[in-house]
C-alpha cells in the first residue's frame, strides 16, 4: 500500500518534530523527565558496578592477601636485617671515630711507637681501678709500659699474659704519678683513690696554682714519659700550716667509658727502687 504522504513531506515533519523536541529540551520542559530517567539509569549502573566489583574482590582478594602476607613477612625480615645493619654500622662509626682519634694522637706524638688495644673488662673488685686489654706479650706488651688514649695518660701495664694484659689506671688508689703543672712549672704527685677521684699532692707552698692549670707528666721517677697530658686543676687547697698544697684534678680521659687505648711500646720504665734511701741498721 502506498503512503498518502509524499516522502519529502514525511522528512519535513520529522525534522520539525525534532526541532520542536530540541527546542522544548533547551527550554527546560523535559528536565523532570530527564532527571528521573538519569536517576534510574545511574542507580542501575551503580548496582551493576558494585556487584561486579564485589565479584572481582571475591575472586581476587584471597590470592592478594596471601601474597601481601608473604610480602609483609619478607619486608619485616628485611627491616630487621637493616636495623641490625644500622646498629652494626653505628658501632663501627663509633669505633672508627675512636681509632681515628688514636691515630691522630699517634701522629701528633711520633716519638713513641704504639700498640692499640681494646678494653675487654674491668677488675672484679670495686677496690681496684684496673682494666683488662686484649693485647699481651705476644704483641710485645711488657709490664710497666705506659698506656694512653687520645685524651691523655690512662695508666700503666701491671701484669701481662700471652694475649691480654691488666692495666692499672691512674685513678687506682695505689697509683702515684709524678706530674708537672704547666703554668707554674711546678712538680707534684698525682694520687688516685678508691672513689676514682684524682688528687695533686706535694705541691710546693711557693707555687702559684690556679683552677684550669694544665697538668702533664714530668717524667721524674722513670715510670712514665714526660709531657703526656693528664688533666686540669679544678680546685686548690692551700693551708699555711701544712707543708704542701693540694689540688683536685679533672682527668682528660673519661675512665668510665674507656674502649680503646694505646700502649707505648718503646718506652722502658726505670725501676729506681734500689736507689731509694733505706733506713740504716
Amino acid at each position: 500500500m502506498k503512503s498518502s504522504f509524499p516522502r519529502s513531506l514525511q522528512t519535513i515533519i520529522i525534522i520539525l518534530v525534532a526541532i520542536g523536541l530540541v527546542t522544548l529540551a533547551l527550554g527546560g520542559y523535559f528536565n523532570p523527565l530527564t532527571y528521573r530517567i538519569g536517576q534510574f539509569t545511574i542507580g542501575i549502573q551503580t548496582w551493576v558496578s558494585s556487584r561486579y566489583m564485589a565479584l572481582v574482590d571475591f575472586l581476587t582478594v584471597p590470592r592478594d592477601l596471601a601474597s601481601m602476607q608473604e610480602q609483609n613477612s619478607a619486608l619485616q625480615a628485611e627491616v630487621a636485617r637493616l636495623q641490625t645493619e644500622v646498629i652494626d654500622l653505628q658501632q663501627r662509626v663509633t669505633e672508627t671515630n675512636i681509632l681515628s682519634a688514636l691515630v691522630n694522637f699517634a701522629r701528633a706524638n711520633p716519638a713513641y711507637t704504639y700498640k692499640a688495644a681494646a678494653v675487654i673488662g674491668q677488675d672484679p673488685s670495686p677496690f681496684r681501678r684496673y682494666v683488662i686489654i686484649n693485647t699481651g706479650s705476644n704483641d710485645g706488651i711488657r709490664a710497666g709500659m705506659p698506656v694512653v688514649t687520645d685524651q691523655g695518660l690512662a695508666g700503666q701495664v701491671d701484669a701481662v699474659i700471652a694475649d691480654a694484659a691488666r692495666v692499672r689506671l691512674v685513678t687506682d688508689p695505689a697509683s702515684a704519678v709524678n706530674v708537672r703543672l704547666q703554668a707554674s712549672n711546678t712538680d707534684a704527685m698525682l694520687d688516685g683513690s678508691v672513689t676514682g677521684d684524682l688528687t695533686l699532692d706535694m705541691i710546693s707552698q711557693d707555687a702559684t696554682v690556679q683552677v684550669g692549670d694544665v697538668v702533664l707528666t714530668s717524667g721524674l721517677g722513670g715510670g712514665y714519659p714526660a709531657n703526656l697530658l693528664v688533666g686540669q686543676v679544678v680546685s686548690v687547697r692551700k693551708q699555711p700550716t701544712e707543708l704542701f698544697q693540694q689540688a683536685s684534678l679533672q682527668a682528660n680521659v673519661d675512665f668510665n667509658r674507656l674502649e680503646y687505648v694505646l700502649v707505648i711500646t718503646n718506652f722502658n720504665p726505670v725501676d729506681i727502687t734500689p736507689l731509694l734511701a733505706t733506713p740504716g741498721p
Binding site: 675487654i120 673488662g121 674491668q122 677488675d123 672484679p124 673488685s125 670495686p126 677496690f127 681496684r128 684496673y130 683488662i132 701491671d158 691488666r166 692499672r168 687506682d172 688508689p173 695505689a174 694520687d191 683513690s193 678508691v194 672513689t195 676514682g196
Partner: protein
C-alpha cells in the same frame, strides 16, 4: 662423682667473664656486685652439693688471677662464704631465701673487709669511712638484689647435676 667438679670450671669461668665484662661496669656509687660470690653462696646452700669447697678454691684462684687484689684475699673470702653457707644450710634449711640473703650479706662484708685490710697492709691509702660508705654498702645492696635470681639459677643447676634426689 666428677661431673660437678668438671662443670665448675666453665660455670665459674663464665661467671668471671660476665663479672669483668659487664657486672663490674654496673656501679652503684663505687660499689659493684660480685657474681662469683653469689654463685658460691647459692651453691654452698644446696643441701645435696658435696663439692662446694672445691668450687670455692677454684673461684678464689680464678678471681685472684684476674684481679689486682691479692689472690689470697679471694681464696680465703670465698672459702669463708662457702663455710657460712654450709653452716646455715644445717641451721635454717627451711628458709633457703633467708639463708641466701644472710650468706650474701656476711660474704660480701667478709670479702670487702678482707680486701680493705689486705690493701691497707700493702700501704694502699684508703679511709675506712669512705670505703664503707662508697664501696661496701652499695656492693651489699647490689649483691642482695642479685641474690634471688642467682639462687634460682644455681638451684636449677644443682637439680640437673644431682638428679637422683628430687625436692618435693
Amino acid at each position: 662423682m666428677m661431673t660437678p667438679i668438671l662443670v665448675s670450671i666453665p660455670v665459674l669461668a663464665l661467671a668471671l667473664l660476665l663479672q669483668t665484662a659487664v657486672i663490674s661496669r654496673i656501679m652503684l656509687i663505687n660499689g659493684s656486685a660480685d657474681l662469683v660470690l653469689l654463685i658460691l653462696a647459692a651453691w654452698g646452700l644446696q643441701e645435696r652439693v658435696h663439692h662446694a669447697w672445691i668450687w670455692a678454691v677454684l673461684a678464689g684462684l680464678l678471681s685472684g688471677f684476674v684481679s689486682g687484689v691479692p689472690w689470697y684475699v679471694y681464696l680465703a673470702s670465698y672459702l669463708a662464704v662457702v663455710g657460712v653457707a654450709r653452716l646455715l644450710t644445717r641451721r635454717v634449711w627451711q628458709a633457703p631465701l633467708l639463708a641466701m640473703f644472710s650468706v650474701t650479706l656476711i660474704g660480701t662484708l667478709v670479702l670487702q673487709m678482707a680486701t680493705f685490710f689486705a690493701l691497707t697492709f700493702l700501704q694502699v691509702p684508703m679511709a675506712l669511712g669512705d670505703v664503707f660508705e662508697k664501696i661496701i654498702l652499695p656492693s651489699v645492696l647490689l649483691n642482695l638484689l642479685l641474690a634471688i635470681p642467682t639462687y634460682g639459677l644455681v638451684r636449677d643447676l644443682a637439680n640437673r647435676l644431682y638428679p637422683g634426689e628430687v625436692e618435693l
